[in-house]
Point group: C2
Chain length 333, copies 2
């Protein structure tokens, strides 16, 4: 990391993504990877997101897992993964390209945002520890601030000020509010970088968080009030299960059956896993005179969280995720 940080700073003046040196790294194992989920303030020009994704994907060792655009929010999310050094290089390339292509002075959209690259969370995969992501987020933040003359706010586990742990607090007032306050209000002083907004790119929130599982439980009822009551009972913020966010909604797709849905984010599956959350929802559904119809996993989930469900369902004794053949092999490769 140190050598990369130096080489990045050395190249400060003439940085161009296409010049980025691509060299072969010792390939680390899958279990030592970092995931990054940057959000960009552009959801209406697909060619811009394609260029950013291209800049990320050309970094050796990085796999782009997903990207999606939202026109209403005028915002896009890219998910990529790689070893620490590659992840930082790809994150840097992404910011560089976004600052060239996105102008916050022209941006409008429904979603709160403070910059062209609004958030850059680092997420531990496999046996990577969250502490490594905290370290990485801070080093990346410091480096990006210098390289791009961009104000950087650290959030989540990487926050240096406790009042910046919640992203909503960092984004208060959005781009426009931050622009007005950054040079004068000491509460808005960035953790790294200049005490003024970047002329096109605004600012960036850089953080570390655990992987998030988006999981929906569809009830055998159309009564959304039941889903809302269950969501209220299971979410941490109203005294439910730790590390669970939940809301009750009515799932309506044309031509399909309607379901009252408990839509969850499990933000730390080692505290509350899928099985525990679903078991609690089933108990509450039965109490309400209904049951679970089926479940949906949205996007990706850590393999360990799914293996835990299998071990729980079977009452497996002495099970280790290392007994999953391809996962075990991936560890060594």
């Amino acid at each position: 990391m140190t050598s990369l940080a130096c080489s990045v700073v050395d190249r400060l003046s003439g940085w161009e993504p296409d010049e980025w040196p691509v060299r072969a790294y010792h390939r680390p194992t899958v279990s030592s990877l970092i995931e990054c989920v940057p959000n960009f303030s552009e959801g209406r020009r697909p060619e811009v997101i394609d260029e950013i994704v291209h800049a990320i994907g050309q970094i050796d060792g990085v796999t782009v897992l997903d990207h999606s655009r939202d026109e209403t929010h005028n915002r896009s999310v890219v998910t990529f993964a790689g070893p620490a050094e590659s992840a930082v290089r790809a994150a840097t390339a992404a910011v560089g390209r976004a600052l060239q292509l996105i102008d916050m002075e022209q941006h409008t959209g429904a979603h709160p945002r403070i910059g062209a690259v609004d958030v850059m969370p680092f997420v531990p995969l496999g046996s990577t520890r969250i502490e490594e992501c905290v370290d990485l987020a801070r080093r990346f933040g410091e480096q990006a601030a210098k390289l791009f003359d961009l104000p950087v706010y650290l959030y989540g586990e990487a926050a240096l000020r406790p009042e910046r742990r919640r992203l909503a607090d960092v984004r208060r007032g959005q781009y426009e509010g931050l622009k007005a306050e950054i040079g004068t209000n000491p509460d808005r002083e960035p953790d790294y970088g200049p005490h003024r907004i970047h002329p096109r790119g605004g600012a960036i929130a850089v953080g570390a968080r655990k992987p998030l599982i988006a999981f929906n439980v569809n009830l055998a009822t159309e009564d959304v009030a039941v889903a809302k009551r269950i969501a209220h009972a299971v979410r941490e913020s109203s005294g439910g299960l730790p590390a669970v966010q939940a809301m009750g909604v009515l799932l309506e797709n044309p031509g399909e059956r309607r379901y009252a849905q408990v839509s969850m984010n499990l933000v730390d599956w080692e505290r509350t896993g899928i099985s525990r959350a679903v078991r609690e929802i089933r108990r509450l559904a039965l109490e309400a005179g209904t049951d679970i119809d089926h479940c949906e996993l949205i996007g990706l989930a850590p393999t360990g969280a799914l293996l835990e469900v299998a071990a729980d369902a079977l009452g497996l004794r002495d099970f280790s995720p290392d007994q999953a053949l391809e996962l075990r092999l991936a560890k060594d490769r």
Copy 2:
């Protein structure tokens, strides 16, 4: 594969494992790997197995996943995995080393066997197809026969004669019986290699099979008769579930509770998976007035078979194993 086969044959005269050229291959993804599970007729001299494991492990791209020795059977099992080309190289190195270190004329043991390397099964992992393993087993068999002047019998999915699909049929009469019959009985003619036994190494059975899951269900009873009845009901050979082998045993460990156990091999989990087998055993256990206490997975299992259990337990709709993050990443690496 063709170039490897040629280079092996070219080196026929002066082959030594230490001379084996180690070069870097393009690293294939985890999902295109082959597993090999050779059984060696040596279980009493650990140093011999260590040397064989060393010969396998030094092949670039190969991971030795497990090895175990059995003194009673005087037999050892090594599990390794790698891309096709590396797997064949490691299998070849293993046979070469075993023929130097094991003399069948001196071998006694409880387990049926025909040679120093008794069996060499090739097993598909991830998205590898069984057909690739059939092809690989036949190429390896032909090459090993030439290189080591060793009679080769193809079994399992790789069998060229239907009566050789079952390993027990190939091993009929064992080393001693085969030695007496090989030159005279046309039924014992090898698929490749000389029509006489190798002076030290006997013969080898080379095959292709699907991955096998060793799975035990421990009942909440000590009555082994219940386990035997359930095993009889679920195993394919007595009209039960397809691709299930099962027996009932009494599990006794000093100082621990005793369990009547249904011990299974699931030989094709895509035909009968873990959930289906366990569900049927639970139904039969409840009928017999008992229940499942807990389960045990022995050794490794394909990750897909465990994810299927999770998806089944949750009633997941539209689930794909590609949603398991590390597994998805391993595919691309």
